[in-house]
């Protein structure tokens, strides 16, 4: 793979997505951040475009497309200038749901997956807990088997789409301590004993609702178990791969936009008789970033290529997420700096990006955890 294998169909999907995102989402970027939420119709609108079901089987409403269509989605979404909306949509279609597509029963696909891909049910992924984020194997929410039911008790923290999810792909403890006792369930949120305790006030990604959830003797039928009992940890880890990969792709595309904006602003804004973009210090800084972004893109595309061909890509995906997430911090800092006072005003996209970008080294596995994973795969370390 020397060129990214985008076909005319990928290009056409990109064009339609770009038009949609720029016309239907971007004009509301600020309004939805201020509201701390966005309309449900965004889910159905994206579903009508086929943007939620990209790489799912046709019988659940998908298009059976390859992963490069997901790349197109993650790249074009950043034009919404609203990282919160993008995160919500990617959780809906690429984080909470892939596992149902892979190991769900026909019944689970019909009840949860198909309506999620149609934008009719909002999906969330419930793994992190107040006392277990990076340390997934230590999660404490329990699901005790009673006859044909699981009885669930515990709490989940930082759950995206949390305040209005119709179902949660939920990680629970069904067995022993550690990773060997974890299972996954599809959990409908209309079950008694379930409550949204709090909508969390965040630094960025404001339009996305992030919640603390409580489970008190919640009863769900055993048929909601995803895959085999106590095999959940493995699935959680596989699921993380897709989550980290879209995060890396989105980060690279986001940096493209930031530098593009900075070049434009630097060309229009003058100081001391010269456009900012003509000062050597800015030229060099932006060129350094463009160079690093290009490196990030090709590391990410390399990971995509492996992932798309169902090859093992844990190292490459972790590297891409680490590299792009860390690089974003420098790029957004400098692009904000170039905007001067306007960079501190939230109407300017770079100001919002500055707040949103911080999540990239924290969510979906921190940069430190990426390094831990990579180190384990390097002989001698």
């Amino acid at each position: 793979m020397i060129e990214a294998p985008f076909t005319p169909e990928h290009d056409l999907f990109r064009k339609n997505l770009r038009d949609y995102v720029e016309r239907e989402l971007a004009p509301h970027a600020l309004e939805w951040d201020e509201a701390g939420i966005f309309p449900r119709e965004v889910f159905t609108g994206m579903a009508e475009l086929g943007a939620l079901g990209i790489n799912y089987a046709e019988d659940v409403g998908g298009s059976a497309g390859d992963y490069w269509y997901v790349v197109v989605l993650a790249e074009e979404l950043v034009r919404s200038r609203n990282a919160g909306v993008n995160m919500a949509l990617l959780v809906q279609s690429q984080m909470a749901t892939p596992i149902i597509g892979e190991i769900g029963t026909l019944e689970q696909k019909k009840e949860f997956l198909a309506p999620a891909l149609a934008g009719e049910k909002i999906a969330a992924l419930g793994i992190s807990e107040p006392d277990a984020g990076s340390d997934v194997a230590n999660l404490k929410t329990t699901a005790r088997r009673e006859g044909d039911e699981y009885v669930i008790n515990g709490a989940k923290m930082w759950i995206t789409n949390g305040t209005r999810a119709d179902f949660i792909t939920l990680a629970v403890r069904t067995g022993e301590k550690g990773y060997g006792g974890i299972s996954l369930l599809t959990f409908p949120t209309d079950v008694k004993g379930y409550s949204v305790s709090k909508k969390l006030q965040k630094v960025g990604n404001l339009a996305s609702d992030t919640a603390l959830l409580f489970f008190e003797d919640c009863r769900v039928p055993v048929r909601y178990l995803l895959g085999e009992e106590n095999h959940g940890f493995y699935h959680v880890m596989t699921n993380f791969q897709g989550e980290r990969l879209v995060a890396a792709i989105g980060a690279v595309a986001g940096m493209d936009r930031l530098v593009e904006d900075a070049i434009q602003y630097g060309g229009e804004r003058s100081a001391f008789g010269r456009p900012l973009a003509k000062f050597q210090v800015w030229k060099h800084k932006l060129v350094e970033h463009l160079t690093a972004i290009e490196a990030a893109r090709w590391l990410t595309y390399r990971a995509v290529d492996l992932f798309d061909r169902k090859e093992v890509a844990i190292k490459e995906i972790s590297m891409a997420k680490l590299f792009a997430g860390d690089l974003m911090q420098k790029v957004v800092y400098d692009c904000m700096q170039l905007h001067g006072g306007m960079g501190y005003v939230v109407e300017t996209p770079v100001a919002r990006a500055f707040r949103d970008a911080r999540l990239l080294t924290i969510g979906g596995g921190t940069s430190e955890i990426m390094k831990e994973i990579i180190a384990k795969l390097v002989p001698g370390l």
Partner: protein, 266 residues
Amino acid sequence: MKILVTVKRVEDWESKIKVRPDQSWIITEGVNYRANPFDEIGVEEALRLRDANAPSEVVVVSIGPAAAGAEIRSGLAMGADRGILVKHDGFLDSDAVARILVKIVEKEKPDLVVMGKQAVDVDDNVCGQLLAEYLGYGQVTFASKKESLESPEEKGKKAGLKLSADKKSLQCAREVDGGLEVLEVSLPAIVTVDLRLNVPRYASLPNIMKAKKKTIEELLPAALGVDIAPKVKVVKVEPPPLRTAGIKVPDVAALVKKLHEEAKVV
């Protein structure tokens, strides 16, 4: 009903267009292309007419380089049934385009040809009129819609063009100064469409995938027997003049004086 709809590949208006140093044309390297937006409105209208008058067929035709296949695919992904690409690299004047289209109409025998009122690259606004003239067909230019683009009719994807009960004529509204006129044209006819006729649909991924299986027939102007030697040549192109810095006037009287004496607008 068979509807032929034309789609031209044009420079994306969001690309930064620069003139070549020799002023012969614009620099095309690095420019993005897409379908002429008036033509997208044409495709949308054709699809709505088709769906309201089954069984019908929509054929998308484009004249241009091989790459214009992408704009036909775009129409097919929106829902059109098949495509025709008349391949030609380089400049064609509108008259040549109209004469190529005459051959396509003679071959396809559509009941209706829907075209954008103009292409946003050269803004000629003559192709539809020439085609109607050459064919001896009736024409309605700048077709619009009575209802607004926020109306329930538009939300319900109702066609603005209305086929008569006997399917022999078509009613079209067009915007005129301060109002709207409604015309009825007998079929076959040429209709060119304006901006406020409809909001074109997005092509969904499933439909993009389905469009892969639809056929695009490729033809050459020479094989159609059309002489494409231009009657109109581009002599030179110039970029719009750069905006010069404004000036400050001390008071309203000075402003009016300047507007009167220098700008000569009041």
